[in-house]
């Protein structure tokens, strides 16, 4: 799927320039020479002991303390040409928010973040910073070790929240325009926040009973505590956003019905919620879950607290998680926490091709997760009660690179072996949710089931209907979803004003 480069808007560039030449920034730059700054070591994110944390669902990372955050902020060179900003899909004014931390103005820093990123405490936790902003940080080029932008982002927004000092911007008088957001994932929430701040009347329609999309049903508490998400949703409510939960667009009402009810602009952010399976024999045996089912049971439905909560989940003593992405890491670490003796990743390529974030892989290793690389299951074997008891696997070797540039795994003939398992979590990706496409015949759908958009505006082929996030990209990331959402929100605002 097409990808987008973040081009800094002239407006953003100008704003940055203005910030750069402010007196306090100049003085701060002068106070510590660049050489000194470059010598400071990157502050380590404090985390809980592996042996303690792999038994519960409390957060793994503890967050930087104020003192550490200020030191880390000092590492930032406050570059005249800050490359980091171009690496952030929502174009956060990174040097300014970091220098505010250096100056000890934490809440102000959080406000700076919120100018362009409505969910900073979430991005600070789950963004793949190492391949986004931190990848292109000038300090990385100079020393090999970038500024810990994500950790600082998390720090500033956590402080603001914990001090109960959350700033609610003044909302302009209502424009009277009604906007419908389909899906309360990060994409939908971002559009909601942006347009609410412009005075439009926003309703978010969400199929599940809690807002957040993957943030609430997929990503586990030990990486993203629910209370963080709750605070962000609460913030949106304070901006006047209305949430209609348990509302399945396409079923409870179609997009056309909503149009009739007076909604003028739409944002489709329904995500990539359709789980892919291996399509090999025995896959419907008991004890074989999609990652979506497994994580939904545990996170959204709180099966880890069964029977206090009514939804059960198989505990699993020997658990194999198929796949090598973030979703697989979350699943396997969840299995460990639910008491598995063996919790293993089974991945058909090798370590270097794994798409999961490095931090997650490290954490998983520390927690006692096993990795079986270059291995793929060929069939599942059940017991007399149709419950999975083993899987037959093949060993692979790496051949020529495929279209994704990664070396293609090729089976080694005759290398079959049996792995005993009593729980399998299939985590080989998700496809775009088909429901809106099926119930909105006019909407143009691409060959992967994705909603087709004009990448410059995120407009679909239907007038007034925009889309972004996983429904257009397939399974991507939170920050890319939010980047799409910001573009869409800008265009929707123009559209509403034009039609008003």
């Amino acid at each position: 799927m097409a990808d987008k480069k973040t081009e800094l808007s002239p407006e953003l560039k100008a704003r940055q320039k203005a910030g750069f030449i402010e007196e306090w920034r100049k003085e701060m730059r002068k106070a510590i020479p660049v050489k000194e700054r470059m010598k400071m070591p990157r502050q380590k994110m404090p985390e809980r002991e592996a042996d303690e944390r792999n038994k519960d669902f409390e957060e793994v990372n503890l967050g930087l303390k104020a003192k550490e955050a200020v030191i880390e902020a000092k590492r930032c060179l406050d570059c005249a040409n800050p490359q980091c900003v171009a690496g952030c899909p929502v174009g956060i004014d990174i040097p300014t928010f970091i220098k505010l931390i250096e100056a000890g103005k934490f809440s102000e820093s959080a406000r700076k973040l919120k100018e362009t990123n409505s969910l900073p405490s979430i991005c600070g936790r789950v963004c793949p910073q190492e391949t986004q902003c931190e990848e292109v940080c000038n300090l990385k080029k100079a020393t090999g070790v970038p500024v810990a932008i994500g950790n600082l982002e998390r720090f500033a927004s956590d402080v603001e929240r914990m001090e109960g000092d959350v700033f609610i911007p003044k909302i302009p008088p209502s424009t009277g325009h009604k906007v419908a957001i389909l899906g309360a994932g990060p994409a939908g929430l971002t559009v909601a926040g942006e347009l609410a701040k412009k005075g439009h009347q926003i309703t978010v329609f969400e199929a599940l009973h809690m807002a957040g999309g993957v943030l609430v049903y997929g990503i586990p508490e030990f990486r993203l505590p629910k209370k963080i998400l709750d605070a962000e949703i609460d913030y949106l409510r304070k901006l006047g956003v209305e949430f209609r939960m348990n509302f399945v667009v396409g079923m409870t009402a179609t997009l056309d019905d909503l149009k009739q009810e007076g909604y003028e602009a739409f944002f489709v952010g329904t995500g990539a919620g359709l789980p892919n399976f291996m399509r090999i024999p025995g896959e419907n045996l008991i004890g074989i879950y999609s990652a979506n089912e497994y994580l939904t049971r545990v996170n959204l439905m709180r099966a880890y607290d069964f029977p206090k909560y009514d939804t059960p989940v198989f505990p699993g003593h020997r658990v194999a998680v198929l796949g090598g992405g973030n979703v697989a890491m979350d699943s396997v670490r969840t299995a460990k926490r639910l008491g598995a003796e063996l919790a293993a990743i089974v991945y058909r390529r090798s370590r270097v091709e794994m798409p999961a974030r490095i931090e997650e892989v490290h954490h998983a290793e520390e927690e006692g997760i096993e990795f079986h690389f270059l291995t793929t299951p060929t069939r599942f074997i059940g017991d007399e009660n149709h419950k999975v008891k083993a899987m037959e696997c093949l060993r692979m070797e790496l051949g020529e690179p495929d279209s994704s540039g990664r070396r293609r795994p090729v089976p080694i003939e005759g290398s079959e072996f049996i792995m005993e398992v009593d729980l399998v979590v299939v985590s080989i990706g998700n496809s775009p949710n088909p429901l809106i496409g099926q119930t909105t015949p006019e909407l143009e759908i691409g060959k992967w089931g994705n909603v087709e958009v004009d990448w410059d505006t995120m407009a679909t082929n239907m007038e007034g209907v925009y889309a972004g996030g996983d429904i257009v990209r397939g399974g991507a990331t939170v920050i890319l979803a939010m980047g799409d959402a910001r573009v869409a929100a800008g265009e929707m605002h123009k559209y509403l004003n034009g039609s008003g």
């Binding site: 079923m251 009402a253 939904t296 206090k308």
Partner: protein
């Protein structure tokens, strides 16, 4: 939150649940279902829509109290609220003029099949309705079903009725006498299975409304996967209606039982924690 308008015991263990859901009430079609959660700690469970009133803005289901969720529901009353009530979900039942159609229902399916009986009749079919009840006192909604049925049969093991047979035997007898163009069956898995087997020799198209374990009910998790003609389908979005002759029944029976031990634990815990404390 969705407000309960009525929760009423129809017969022992079987209840009617009517809620206020005006948006949904305008869109319900026969054969669709809702996902609901009885309370904040509850499980998301599916119930077939048994009736609706677009003007009043209400939607009804008939449910059988079998485990924690349905027992919890059975204790709720008018004015109480459900934290989750979403729908209508699933593909609607196919309603056309087929000719002569037999609708076979049992337990909760007596209620669940009612909108189908009604719609088929309104579409100009000759409708036979066949209801299975273990005993006379378990019969409900007989009058409304009869209103839309050209013929009404009962299968039961109760001496109150002439017939002392299970539903497939009666179905076979009807088949011997009349030419059926289609059979539709809703109820417990065993009932749907036996009805499908009864019509298989004559190859009469038999539609069943499958009831695998569900979580989201919107196609997101795959908990509800069933094998139909060797291919995996998600019952919540590809169904719940499928051709009964193409279903892998064995798999469905096993999958439905997968949480048997947890269900017992859940019931015991809930009874101890809430029921006995009151």
């Amino acid at each position: 939150m969705t407000k309960i308008i009525r929760r009423e015991r129809l017969v022992p263990n079987i209840h009617l649940l009517e809620v206020e859901a005006p948006e949904m009430a305008r869109r319900c079609k026969p054969g669709q279902f809702v996902m609901l959660m009885p309370d904040e700690r509850g499980e998301r469970i599916p119930l077939t829509i048994a009736d609706w009133d677009a003007e009043k803005g209400t939607v009804s289901s008939v449910f059988m109290a079998v485990g924690t969720s349905t027992q919890k529901l059975a204790l709720l009353k008018a004015g109480d609220e459900l934290p989750v009530y979403a729908g209508p979900l699933g593909k609607p039942a196919e309603i056309e003029k087929f000719g002569t159609v037999l609708c076979a229902g049992g337990c909760y399916g007596i209620g669940a099949i009612y909108p189908i009986v009604r719609a088929l009749k309104e579409a100009g079919n000759t409708v036979y309705t066949l209801i299975d009840v273990k005993a006379n006192f378990l019969m409900y909604w007989e009058e409304r079903l009869k209103r839309y049925s050209d013929e009404f049969f009962v299968s039961s093991r109760d001496s109150f009725f002439d017939c002392k047979e299970y539903i497939p035997n009666v179905l076979e007898k009807v088949l011997q006498k009349s030419k059926l163009d289609r059979v539709i069956s809703i109820g417990c898995t065993y009932l749907m299975y036996t009805c499908s087997e009864a019509t298989r020799p004559k190859g009469i198209k038999t539609i069943v409304s499958l009831n695998p374990v569900m979580v989201d009910g919107t196609g997101m998790c795959g908990a509800c996967r069933c094998t139909i003609e060797g291919r995996t389908k998600f019952a919540c979005v590809d169904g719940p209606d499928f051709d009964g002759h193409a279903v892998d029944w064995d798999e469905l029976f096993y999958r439905r039982k997968s949480y048997f031990e947890d269900e017992i634990r859940s019931m015991c815990y809930w009874e101890k924690e809430s029921l006995l404390k009151e």
